[in-house]
């Protein structure tokens, strides 16, 4: 049974998204801080803010375990924030603890939207956190818990940070507030009113307003809000956008209350309304003079009010956030599909058979213009879907850190080119294979410090993860300076598992290294926590091939290993070469074509003992795949000299395909085969999908990797 408050279900996606983003931020800060040897004030504040927000929204959602843990971490950093030196003696433990807490939260967030979500218990971590809190300062802990609000005020974080861009109105207002708090700190609470504006186009303003109220409730007494009960009516969103969301509350400590508002997500600006007046209005209402209150509420409905009041009171405080919007990925996929349709339709119009032989200067000019614009549009659509790899790289950072600690190895992890952008679909898939390769590198390749010292290498090993964008391809390298691959050992292992397809002596070193990616191969006999769980490099390879990419291995014993992954930048639209075979048209992605040529009397065609045809090109021998035979197509060219031969390559394998005719080059949109056909597994026969050509006919897209493997 999900603990999530059913009324909050519509917010769940937003909650998961925001919390995940915050946790990623947290990891960033922690790793950065650990590297530089300690937390500075800014990062402590940031951690505090992250935990505070998570606590608030988790409590909103009803995820008590998450909010409890976040609350504890917040408490801990509350103490640290007051005096950074408090952390020093136990900084190692605290870092580990916060990492653990972050992991716990991540796991929970990942599962929170599942049907059968069962909240895990955070007590163990909470106890550890309590221990640290006590360790820092037993008495300070008690103080902090009992007087969280007033302590928060003494450092005045929120207001001071924002103070820079204040106008006179604002600062006088604040000084008034400060006087108020210092003067009447303990004996009486004062009433305030704050008007909050949410970021533009943020959606669900009414729910956000309600969340804000809930957050504030911990810090002050809420008297009321305008609109009242914002969550009950979605029409309130429009009111909030127009007039802002006004909260009336009583507090003895305005600063801590304001900092809650400031630290909340998606707040564009807030202003403290004229407190006397607000109080007056409220007081009158409290007296039961309904009409006055009605007047005030009535005024809130008019749009003049904010305009009128803003200059008089305070300038909105900008919280300085960049303007980004998050978009549902399904919409982007749709946009991409639509873009594909436009590319096809454009080709249909421009190459329309009805226009053949006509002299159409103006038409051609216009279609060229159209082509230019669709190209541009396509670039933009692609760029929207692009995300930097840095998020994935960041996760690897974390893995290396944890593993090297556990395995007692010293590893320096370097990432290069994290800002390289890839299509979102690539970004989603690439994480797993990269993680596997990094784990392999740290677990198997990098030696222990002692072994390294004995081999005359620096004690600290090095793993480099790099990404570059080279001409329409993303090249990702995973490099280590560990022990390297042992060809003899690999060959022996492969032979003992019966994975070899030819005599051992015929394998080149390059081919031997490729063996580690064959299913069922794993060089390490021991199963460790991190690698060797039955999945190996073959999973890496199949993941990469799913992205139409390839993996290459280079290695030198004792020096290191480098894996090079090449992935086409985007998957949906490819430049293809059209080939005809009988009545069927095939599209071969340009990236897998090495050359095309005519076979003539001088070309050496060899028939081996099984009757299979081979061709000699520049001293190398390639098998000939006659497409019409392989795909059983009637009425195709039989004579090799009459057709066309195309040399294709996939990874380290090459073959020559034989077709009737070369029709030309065209940009095509890859469409998957209809769902009904999946049961026949035609993909495994070397067909990646299909595409619609300019004249509306369908072409089959060849997948050179599967084609060569299957042949």
């Amino acid at each position: 049974m999900s603990p999530i408050d059913p009324s909050m279900m519509p917010m769940l996606d937003t909650f998961v998204f925001e919390t995940t983003t915050l946790l990623e931020q947290l990891d960033d800060i922690l790793l950065e801080a650990e590297k530089s040897g300690g937390l500075d004030e800014e990062s402590v504040n940031e951690i505090f803010r992250v935990m505070h927000t998570i606590k608030g929204s988790a409590a909103m959602m009803g995820a008590d375990n998450i909010s409890t843990l976040a609350h504890k971490v917040e408490d801990l950093f509350f103490l640290i924030r007051e005096d950074l030196s408090r952390m020093e003696p136990r900084s190692g433990e605290i870092f580990d603890l916060v990492f653990k807490a972050s992991d716990f939260l991540k796991t929970e967030i990942e599962n929170v939207d599942k049907e059968d979500y069962d909240p895990a218990d955070a007590y163990e971590l909470v106890d550890l956190l309590n221990y640290e809190i006590d360790a820092i300062n037993g008495t300070a802990y008690m103080e902090a818990v009992s007087g969280e609000g007033s302590d928060g005020a003494s450092d005045g974080t929120g207001i001071e940070n924002a103070g820079g861009e204040n106008t006179d109105g604002k600062s006088s207002d604040l000084s008034h507030v400060a006087e108020g708090t210092s003067g009447e700190r303990d004996d009486s609470e004062k009433a305030y009113a704050v008007r909050v504006f949410f970021e533009d186009d943020i959606q669900m303003e009414n729910i956000r307003a309600f969340m804000l109220l809930t957050q504030l409730r911990d810090y002050c007494d809420i008297i009321g809000s305008e609109p009242e009960n914002p969550e009950t009516d979605s029409k309130n969103s429009a009111l909030i956008i127009k007039n802002g969301f006004i909260v009336h509350f009583r507090t003895s400590n305005i600063r801590s209350t304001l900092s809650v508002i400031e630290n909340s997500l998606h707040i564009k600006s807030y202003e403290l309304l004229d407190t006397d007046r607000a109080e007056e209005g409220r007081a009158r209402e409290a007296d039961g003079s309904k009409p006055a209150a009605e007047v005030q509420r009535g005024m809130a409905g008019k749009s003049e009010r904010p305009k009128e009041q803003q200059p008089k009171n305070v300038q909105p405080v900008k919280t300085g956030k960049q303007s980004f919007i998050s978009v549902n990925q399904a919409k982007l996929d749709q946009l991409m599909d639509l873009m594909g349709e436009i590319v096809i339709t454009e080709a249909m119009v421009a190459n329309n058979p009805d226009l053949k032989g006509l002299n159409l200067d103006n038409f051609n000019k216009s279609t060229r213009e159209l082509r230019k614009l669709t190209d541009e549009l396509q670039d933009i659509v692609m760029s929207i879907r692009m995300v930097p790899l840095s998020g994935v790289f960041q996760k690897m950072n974390r893995i290396v850190r944890d593993m090297s600690k556990k395995l007692g190895k010293e590893v320096e992890f370097v990432t290069e080119g994290g800002d390289t952008e890839v299509d979102k679909s690539i970004n989603d898939i690439i994480g797993d294979p990269l993680m596997h390769m990094i784990r392999n590198a740290v677990d198997h390749a990098i030696e222990t410090p002692e072994e390294r010292a004995a081999a005359g290498k620096p004690r600290q090993g090095k793993v480099i993860l790099g990404a570059r964008n080279i001409g329409g391809e993303i090249v990702i390298t995973v490099e280590d300076d560990g022990r390297g691959l042992d060809p003899a050992k690999i060959l022996y292992k492969a032979a003992s598992k019966g994975l070899l397809t030819k005599p051992e002596s015929e394998y080149s070193v390059k081919e031997i290294f490729q063996l580690i990616m064959i299913p069922g191969f794993s060089t390490n006999d021991e199963v460790t926590e991190y690698s060797g769980r039955g999945v190996g490099m073959d999973v890496v390879r199949s993941n990469i091939e799913q992205l139409s990419g390839s993996v290459m291995v280079e290695s030198e014993q004792g020096v290191g290993t480098r894996f090079t992954i090449k992935i086409p930048l985007t998957l949906a639209i490819v430049d293809g070469m059209e080939l005809s075979v009988g009545a069927t048209i095939f599209t071969v992605p340009i990236t897998s074509i090495r050359q095309s040529f005519k076979i003539n009397e001088e070309t050496k065609v060899i028939h081996d003992t099984n009757g299979a045809e081979m061709i000699m090109l520049r001293g190398e021998c390639y098998p000939i795949i006659r497409l019409h035979r392989f795909f059983n197509i009637a009425n195709a060219v039989e004579d090799l000299r009459e057709g066309i031969a195309v040399l294709i390559q996939s990874g380290s394998k090459s073959a020559v395909i034989f077709a009737d005719e070369l029709l030309g080059e065209q940009q095509v949109v890859v469409k998957p085969f209809p769902f009904y056909l999946n049961r026949f597994q035609i993909k495994s026969y070397g067909l990646a999908g299909c595409t619609i050509l300019g004249d509306g006919s369908i072409s089959l897209i060849l997948d050179s990797a599967n084609l060569i493997n299957r042949f």
Binding site: E341, I344, A583, T584, I585, F630, F631, N632, I633, K671, F673, P674, F675, Y676, L677, R679, F680, Q681, I682, Y685, L687, C690, I692, G696, S697, I698, S699, L700
Partner: protein, 157 residues
């Protein structure tokens, strides 16, 4: 008797439904109108390798790629050439869209409970696994197809 009544209740929607009827040779078949999304005349079909012979290939239906199935071959009837009366009925269920190649489309009929005989459950899995019911109009019989069985559950083996 009471059992039959239960089945009839379950299939109430189906009974109330209308059927598009088409011909294959001498026989008339029906398909729930609810499932039909388009009827087109026969057009160029791109054949796809490594599929059973009843899957004639794929067509481009306004930018959507739809597999087409020759119902004569699927039902083991002697195949005939396609002519200008040959139609493709495009139906949709679950995530699957398929085109059925039929000799010709006849008409839309509404069957009430009395003119419809359900194929008994035991028989549906043996002799008549592709039929869901038989409809009667006058002296004519219409065999209503169980599309779920034919296109979704059939593994293609």
């Amino acid at each position: 008797m009471s059992d039959t009544a239960g089945v009839l209740r379950v299939h109430k929607d189906e009974l109330a439904g209308r059927y598009l009827t088409f011909r294959l040779g001498e026989n008339t078949y029906g398909v729930e109108l609810m499932k039909v999304i388009d009827i087109i005349t026969i057009q160029a079909i791109t054949s796809v390798p490594y599929v059973p012979d009843y899957v004639k290939g794929i067509i481009n239906l306004r930018g959507k790629i739809i597999p087409v199935i020759d119902m004569r071959i699927k039902f083991s009837l002697p195949p005939v050439g396609y002519d200008d009366r040959t139609c493709i009925i495009v139906i949709e269920m679950d995530r699957i869209q398929v085109g059925m190649i039929v000799d010709t489309v006849s008409e839309v009929l509404t069957f009430d409970a009395e003119s419809l005989t359900l194929i008994p459950e035991f028989d549906r899995y043996n002799n008549n696994k592709y039929l869901s019911s038989i409809g009667r109009v006058g002296d004519k019989l219409v065999m209503n197809l169980n599309c779920q069985k034919i296109f979704v559950e059939d593994s293609g083996q």
